[in-house]
Symmetry: C2
Subunit: 179 residues, 2 copies
C-alpha cells in the first residue's frame, strides 16, 4: 500500500510518501514541502498548491491520499488557509480517482506515538524510528505528512475489517429477512 500523506497549509504544505502494510517495516519513498509565497494573491497560491500536489502524484502514483482533517474551532486565524489547501489536495486526488482519507491530528498522534496528545517532537521522533531515518524530517509539516501516511496504513486494515463486518452483517440481515 502506497500512501501520500498531506499536512495541508498555504505557506507550507507537508507531503510524504510511505509504502508498506500494517505489521511490517514501512518504507519512506519521499518527503517534502510545497511552499507558496505569503505575499501572492490567494488564487495564485491555490494554483501553486495544486501544481505541487500534482507533481507529487505524478512522481509517486500513490494508491491512497491521507489528508489531515481540519477543524474550524482550532487556530481560527490560519484555519481558512488550511481548509483551502486541503480542498485543493482532495480535489487533485479525487480527480484522479484516488481514494482520499481524512484523519484527525489526534488520530495521527495516537497512531504513531500511542498518545493523542503527543507533541511535535515526539511525533518527529517516532516517524524517524518507524521509517528508520537518520534524523527527523524538517520542517515539522513534512514529518506530520509522513505520520499521516503511516496512520493511514495502520488504520486502513481496521477500517476495512469494520467495513467487511458491516457488509457481512448487512448481508446476513438481508438474508434473514428474505428467508
Amino acid at each position: 500500500m502506497r500512501v501520500l500523506g498531506v499536512d495541508p497549509g498555504l505557506t507550507r504544505c507537508g507531503v510524504g510518501v510511505v509504502e508498506g502494510v500494517a505489521g511490517r517495516p514501512l518504507t519512506m519513498l519521499g518527503v517534502g514541502v510545497v511552499r507558496t509565497p505569503t505575499d501572492a494573491e490567494l488564487g495564485h497560491r491555490l494554483v501553486a498548491v495544486e501544481q505541487g500536489i500534482e507533481q507529487w502524484l505524478d512522481a509517486y502514483r500513490p494508491e491512497y491520499v491521507a489528508v489531515e482533517r481540519v477543524f474550524s474551532q482550532h487556530n481560527v486565524r490560519t484555519v481558512m488557509g488550511t481548509a483551502q489547501a486541503s480542498a485543493v489536495a482532495m480535489l487533485c486526488a479525487a480527480r484522479r480517482g484516488i481514494p482520499v482519507a481524512l484523519h484527525t491530528p489526534s488520530e495521527v498522534k495516537a497512531a504513531v506515538t500511542g498518545s493523542g496528545r503527543a507533541d511535535k517532537a515526539q511525533v518527529g521522533a517516532m516517524v524517524t524510528r518507524l521509517l528508520r531515518l537518520d534524523a527527523p524530517p524538517k520542517p515539522a509539516d513534512a514529518a506530520d505528512a509522513l505520520a499521516l501516511a503511516i496512520c493511514h496504513i495502520w488504520r486502513a486494515p481496521a477500517q476495512n475489517r469494520l467495513q467487511q463486518a458491516v457488509a457481512l452483517h448487512t448481508a446476513k440481515a438481508t438474508k434473514g429477512r428474505t428467508a
Copy 2:
C-alpha cells in the same frame, strides 16, 4: 465589465453573471446553482464544484470572478465546506488568469441595499430591481451570487481609483527622491 459572482457552498454554490459599468443599468447574463450530493465523498463533491465552475467560465468568459469572503467565526458547522468550495472557485479562476476579488457579506449587502445588515429578502428585492428581473432569483444563493457580481462592478472603480492614486503618489515620491 463582465463578472461571475460566486456564493460558495458545497451543497449549493450560487453563480451569477452580470455585465455593465458603474452608473449605468446592469444586465444579467446568467444565474444558477452548482449542486453536489450531500452523501457523496468530500473529494468527489469538490470535483463536482470544479466541473460546475469550469462550465460557467467556459460559457460566459467573465473578466473578473467575485467570491464571497469566508470568515471562520461565522456558521462554524458549515464554514469548512464553504471555505473548501470557495478555494475551488478561486483556483478555477486563477488557473485561467482571471482576477479574483473577495467581498465580505456586509460589503455586498451595503453595495446593493445601502445597509450592511440587510436581510436575504431585501438583497433579493434589490437584485431583482437592479437587474430588471421579473422575480427574485431562487434559491437565495443564486441571488447572492448576482449581488456579489453587482458589488464588484460598483466597487471596482473606487478600488481602481485608489490603486491609481497610490501608484501616482508612489511615482511622485520616487521622483522627489531622485530629483
